[in-house]
């Protein structure tokens, strides 16, 4: 029971989130919505418990279906109505009320939707005004609307497979799915590369080959749909290879869209393998194939003689204008001035003589895929080896042997094992390049869709990130990129007026700094409207009129949940689409987000992520019987305090005068509840650390030494404030690694005396700003203490 309710909850939440993220013209999200609704309908018990919900889901799905078929306009207003419908469904579910009142208002909403003017009769298959006015279309494809908008999602015919004989050899099939996805990724990378090096035959070949492979293998596996689609695309590309036509915008569009479609079908196959044959969906791809053939056909007719370069360049230009940006065919956007073709979009096929193979094709080193469990096993085994080696070396019998040869051999052995350890560690780190490369496509699509012009500049793609974080960082990154292009960069005309280059620049940077991996997204757009944010925050009661917040503090309010829903963004500042979602995702990875913005100049969003699993350099300290590791990077100095530098405040808050500033003392043994040898700060050693701009003096018994340690999680024990993880020390025991950021904040609550005095005055600010700005508020605290 509870489980079912949870499923409802999850699905409804999911729906609400997705409808929020949907953009006009972004039909893939609509596809997801439809799937979710389907799942909702199929939830057991829905008929008995929420009969209305089921009906509503059915109706809504039908409407969404119409949107996909462009019977209903996919405008922002209509999505807004869909959003309201979903809101109503949620309400019904929450209140658990099955009365018909909500249903009535739901139906009313739906009917406004279906009767919206844009939904005027629009025959499905005939080419209306937005259809490509391509006079030279091949006659055969005239009624099948060849060069029209790319089908955004293959229509699901039914869920009953006609024949699933390809399911016979699961192993081959899953191998094929893996391979196909890899191929598709390489296709995407190559095609984007091609935009920079148009006409490079080597790259075109690199795009052609994977399609050929996919066609071959899918044919072998009897996956007729995939085969047909890959085949038709291959034919199109073959024309390009043979210089019959140019690798123009329309071909690129075909390749990208077909790639998406193939990926969808591959996912479907994977789903079928996982969940059994019932979940197989039979996609109707005929519209795709028609489209591909249309693009190919139109071109071959248009361009009978390959000789004249003038003709070739004219032809693609025409198709580009008519057929290219697919979203431009949707009425609201079509009204806007057609976006100028992106800089590298169309290029006549370079005459063979001039086609210098500038093979700048991304060199992808040979790699193999390894099961993560195996890798973890290796890392653990190597760790064990290193520890055992240390123990053997420390054995008294061994140390008694005074043989230089043995010592030399031990030295050699140590070198080998540490090399082994480093290598095995690095295997879990991957360059962030792949994630970044996906952004190229995103920015390209976004700028097309919004009619803006944005260049993506990437730096530091080599920066390594933990394999496990790659997937989790993707979504927040997409969100922020979307934000920067959509809301940050202004329209070309606006930019011209402001004297900025027409092309907006969005920079994506990654680098390592201070034990963190930093990802920055910078745009040279309009920046945040701080004043509007302030007004909105006041309105929502997040801050008070009397609060004196810096612009930086105010800007960071966009990460609060209150600033998340669609209409508020446009109201507030044109920025901040669900930025709290980003914040949440990043914080889950124990990272931080921050925004810096200058009105009119642009904004920089910064994500800081810890380098988990990386080897960190630490100082091992002893407190009583326990040993802890303090990350070296945060340590400023360590010394035995002099009596005269030790000051207490109100008899309880302990501080130490370090180089002219008062630094609060943390008694580690007290916080960790262990018996310490030294309880007098002047007998103990203090380690001055800095985290987030705050300094603390950590009191320990002894410093034991410096060592590179491997962060390990504590096997299920998570979120202990002040503990970042554990590591295995030389003697095989576990040592805890201190999480200074956590310790510093935790300590504040522990010794409430010092900072409380200031923050108590303005509890409202504290509550709001604390997540982002503890550093700042803390600094003021400290400076006040000093004065």
């Amino acid at each position: 029971m509870a489980e079912e309710v949870n499923t409802f909850d999850k699905l409804l939440n999911d729906l609400a989130l997705k409808i929020m993220m949907v953009d006009p013209g972004d039909l893939s999200v609509v596809g997801d919505l439809i799937l979710d609704l389907e799942n909702l309908e199929n939830t057991p018990d829905i008929t008995t418990k929420f009969p209305h919900l089921k009906q509503m889901a059915l109706d809504l799905r039908a409407v969404l279906g119409k949107i996909v078929m462009t019977d209903i306009d996919d405008s922002a207003e209509n999505f807004d109505i869909v959003g309201q419908c979903i809101g109503l469904m949620e309400e019904i579910y929450r209140k658990n009320d099955n009365d018909s009142e909500s249903l009535a208002s739901f139906n009313k909403l739906l009917s406004t939707l279906s009767s919206s003017p844009a939904a005027a009769e629009k025959p499905k298959d005939s080419p209306p005004e937005e259809q490509a006015p391509s006079p030279a279309q091949s006659p055969s494809s005239a009624n099948s609307a060849p060069a029209t908008e790319a089908p955004d999602k293959p229509v699901i015919l039914d869920t009953k497979p006609e024949s699933l004989d390809f399911m016979e050899d699961m192993e081959l099939l899953s191998g094929f799915i893996e391979e196909t996805k890899e191929h598709l990724e390489s296709i995407e990378v190559n095609i984007l590369d091609l935009e920079d090096n148009p006409g490079d035959m080597e790259i075109i070949n690199n795009i052609f080959r994977p399609f050929h492979t996919i066609k071959g293998v899918s044919g072998f596996l009897n996956l007729t749909n995939i085969q047909a689609l890959a085949h038709s695309t291959e034919n199109l590309l073959d024309d390009v290879r043979n210089n019959i036509r140019a690798m123009d915008e329309s071909v690129i569009e075909v390749v990208l869209k077909v790639g998406d479609c193939l990926k969808l079908m591959a996912d479907n196959l994977q789903n079928t393998i996982d969940n059994g044959a019932e979940s197989y969906k039979n996609y109707d791809i005929s519209n795709y194939i028609r489209w591909v053939k249309g693009v190919q056909g139109a071109e071959t007719v248009e361009e009978p003689a390959t000789a004249s370069p003038a003709a070739t360049s004219a032809a693609p230009a025409q198709t580009t204008e008519s057929a290219a940006p697919p979203s431009a065919t949707t009425p609201p956007l079509a009204a806007a001035p057609p976006p100028p073709p992106p800089k590298s979009s169309i290029a006549p096929p370079a005459p063979p003589a001039a086609a210098k193979p500038k093979t700048k094709a991304k060199k992808v080193g040979a790699t193999i895929k390894v099961d993560v469990d195996k890798l973890d096993g290796l890392v653990n085994a190597v760790g064990e080896l290193v520890i055992m080696q240390t123990m053997v070396r420390a054995n008294p019998h061994i140390t008694a042997i005074a043989d230089p040869k043995l010592n030399k051999d031990f030295g050699q052995l140590f070198r080998i094992t540490s090399e082994l350890q480093k290598t095995s560690m690095s295997m879990r780190m991957v360059p962030i390049r792949q994630t970044f490369q996906k952004m190229i496509r995103l920015v390209r699509d976004l700028s097309k869709k919004t009619g803006k012009q944005a260049n993506l500049v990437m730096e530091g793609e080599e920066t390594e990130i933990d394999r496990n974080m790659v997937d989790s960082i993707y979504d927040p990154l997409v969100h922020m990129m979307r934000n920067s292009v959509d809301h940050g960069v202004q329209m070309p005309e606006e930019r011209k007026r402001l004297g900025k280059p027409v092309y907006g620049t969005v920079s994506l940077r990654a680098y390592q700094k201070g034990g963190y991996m930093v990802i920055e997204i910078e745009d040279d757009g309009q920046g945040l409207n701080t004043e509007k944010i302030r007004r909105k925050a006041l309105e929502r009661g997040l801050i008070q009129e009397s609060d004196n917040l810096s612009d930086h503090d105010l800007n960071n309010l966009v990460f609060l949940p209150g600033f998340s829903t669609a209409d508020q963004i446009t109201d507030v500042s044109g920025r901040g689409v669900g930025m709290d979602v980003v914040k949440k995702a990043v914080e889950k990875l124990r990272g931080k987000v921050d925004v810096m913005s200058e009105p009119g100049k642009g904004s920089i969003f910064t994500i800081r992520l810890p380098l988990t699993l990386a080897i960190i350099d630490g100082i091992i300290v002893q407190v009583g019987t326990e040993r802890y590791i303090i990350p070296t990077i945060a340590i400023r100095e360590s010394f035995r305090p002099r009596r005269e530098d030790y000051k207490t405040i109100k008899g309880q808050g302990e501080t130490l005068l370090v180089r002219g500033s008062l630094v609060p003392i943390i008694r580690l043994y007290k916080y960790f509840q262990v018996e310490a040898k030294c309880t007098d700060p002047c007998e103990a050693i203090v380690v001055v650390v800095e985290s987030e701009g705050k300094q603390r003096a950590i009191m320990v018994d002894e410093l034991l030494g410096k060592q590179e340690v491997v962060i390990k999680n504590l096997g299920g024990i998570t979120d202990i404030t002040g503990v970042a993880g554990g590591t295995i020390l030389g003697d095989g025991r576990v040592g805890l690694i201190l999480d200074l950021a956590g310790l510093v904040t935790a300590k504040m609550n522990y010794n409430l005396d010092l900072p409380a005095a200031v923050s108590k005055d303005s509890p409202a600010i504290k509550e709001v700003t604390e997540p982002e700005n503890t550093a700042d508020s803390e600094k003021t605290t400290e400076s006040e203490q000093i004065s």
């Binding site: 890392v379 653990n380 085994a381 190597v382 760790g383 064990e384 520890i387 326990e626 916080y671 960790f672 509840q673 262990v674 390990k712 999680n713 504590l714 096997g715 299920g716 024990i717 998570t718 979120d719 202990i720 404030t721 002040g722 503990v723 554990g726 295995i728 095989g732 025991r733 576990v734 040592g735 805890l736």
Partner: protein, 168 residues
Amino acid sequence: MAAEQTAVTDGTENGLGGKYLTFSLGSEEYGVEIMKIREIIGIMEITSVPHTPEYIKGVINLRGRVIPILELRLRFNMATKEYDDRTCIIVVEVNGPSGPIMIGMLVDSVSEVVNIDSAEIEPPPEFGTPTESENILGMGKIKGDVKILLDVDKIVGAGVLEHLEASA
């Protein structure tokens, strides 16, 4: 054997029969499904972790892997006992919130592996309070003895760790 194993994980009323590892806590004898057990190790130095419930004794290094140790006596609110050479850590694998996790259970001593027929297993007695019996799969009777068959997933699994996360 294979059939037995699937029956064990089944957890249905009469599917509880199978092999159990028995161990003692004070005068009481307990049993844990053998399929849940990864290994048994002697007591070793435990690194305590601050701000965790009392029964989480800390963490150990199990061949390069850090795993939490749960003192079963404290988990059951029993008085603690000095560790001796019979004290053992039974390492079990349970379902955590994000995949299987390994956790060590600290017990007084390990006894033997016994085969208990499902016919010999009775449902847990009713104590009136649900908390007393919710961790128990059933009561196994062998040669006049009664073994308390524990549901490790509930005792050390998700529930405890969630609690951990909440309390931290």
